[in-house]
């Protein structure tokens, strides 16, 4: 019982942290020169951490909760659809690749970053019924890889530095 409530509290803190990271990302967006519409995906640091330290289920839960909350707070329902599609595909690939144990956390995160874009484009193709959109994938794969490397480095740093006993 005690373990369970501890787990609930821990995941709640993780969700709050992911939310704050999403907000920080919105705040620092104008400061870093980047192409409009392309985000680094800072909250995914938490997802990578959870995937390696906790379970796939907790990563999925926190990911979907934070998307729902961020969409309600800062976005709209259209953004929710794109985010969900991206997160679902990205989580699927990250969980499978984590199980296969072929890649380091950074590699898993890269795959996650790229697949997030693929999921979003697939959703856009579905909603707008325009296959031509998939041309954007060329650019998005490069940016997704860079974002994945940055997120992966932060995530694996957390996995290494945060002591197991803390929670």
């Amino acid at each position: 019982m005690r373990e369970k409530s501890k787990n609930v509290a821990f995941l709640g803190v993780c969700t709050a942290l992911a939310l704050i990271l999403a907000y920080v990302e919105i705040l620092i967006q104008p400061l870093i020169p980047s192409i409009p519409g392309i985000k680094m995906g800072l909250p995914n640091v938490i997802i990578v951490f959870l995937l390696y330290r906790r379970s796939a289920a907790s990563a999925i839960g926190v990911s979907f909760l934070r998307i729902l909350l961020v969409s309600l707070l800062f976005g709209n329902m259209m953004a929710l659809a794109y985010s969900l599609a991206g997160a679902a595909l990205s989580l699927l690939f990250m969980i499978v690749l984590r199980r296969l144990n072929l890649l380091s956390p950074v590699g898993v995160s890269i795959a996650g970053g790229v697949m997030h874009n693929v999921g979003q484009i697939m959703m856009a193709v579905l909603l707008l019924k325009t296959v031509e959109l998939s041309y954007y994938l060329v650019v998005l794969t490069v940016t997704g890889t860079i974002a994945g490397i940055l997120v992966g480095l932060c995530g694996s740093l957390l996995v290494r530095k945060i002591p197991e006993k803390l929670f």
Partner: protein, 136 residues
């Protein structure tokens, strides 16, 4: 000791796999870029769709300006300009402005997309240019 060295080996293997993954992704991109920019030729018409439905078709060979009106009471706009055989969005009322920032398009299949308004502008090639010449 043995277990430890195995783990280190594993780690090196995984990092090698990471590099491989990035290499494959970049290769895919390079192929995509080659396909998009080298092997495609200029198109003839610009087709505008709003939420998947046809809005209008305009020739790329004549200079032209169109205010694409969308949303409730046509309250949103994307100003499409065709100039010197290239199409671009000069201004728009969408929040992100990605369509305005997009470089002019002219190659067959290239497109400018405004996600907030559901507007897709795509270049096409006249099919009859390639139709077999049955008369001669």
């Amino acid at each position: 000791m043995l277990k430890n060295s195995r783990r280190i080996m594993n780690k090196q293997n995984r990092i090698r796999n990471d590099v491989l993954l990035v290499a494959v992704l970049l290769l895919l991109c390079a192929v995509g870029i080659l396909y998009l920019f080298v092997f495609r030729e200029g198109g003839d018409t610009v087709r505008v769709t709003v939420d998947g439905e046809l809005y209008g078709v305009y020739s790329l060979h004549e200079d032209f300006t169109e205010e694409i009106r969308t949303g409730e009471d046509d309250g949103q706009f994307n100003r499409l300009i065709i100039q010197d055989g290239r199409a671009f969005v000069e201004s728009a009322s969408c929040p992100d402005g990605i369509c305005v920032g997009h470089r002019p398009i002219f190659r067959n299949g290239e497109s400018i997309v405004c996600l907030p308004h559901g507007v897709v502008i795509t270049v096409f090639t006249d099919n009859d240019k390639y139709a077999p010449d049955i008369v001669a």
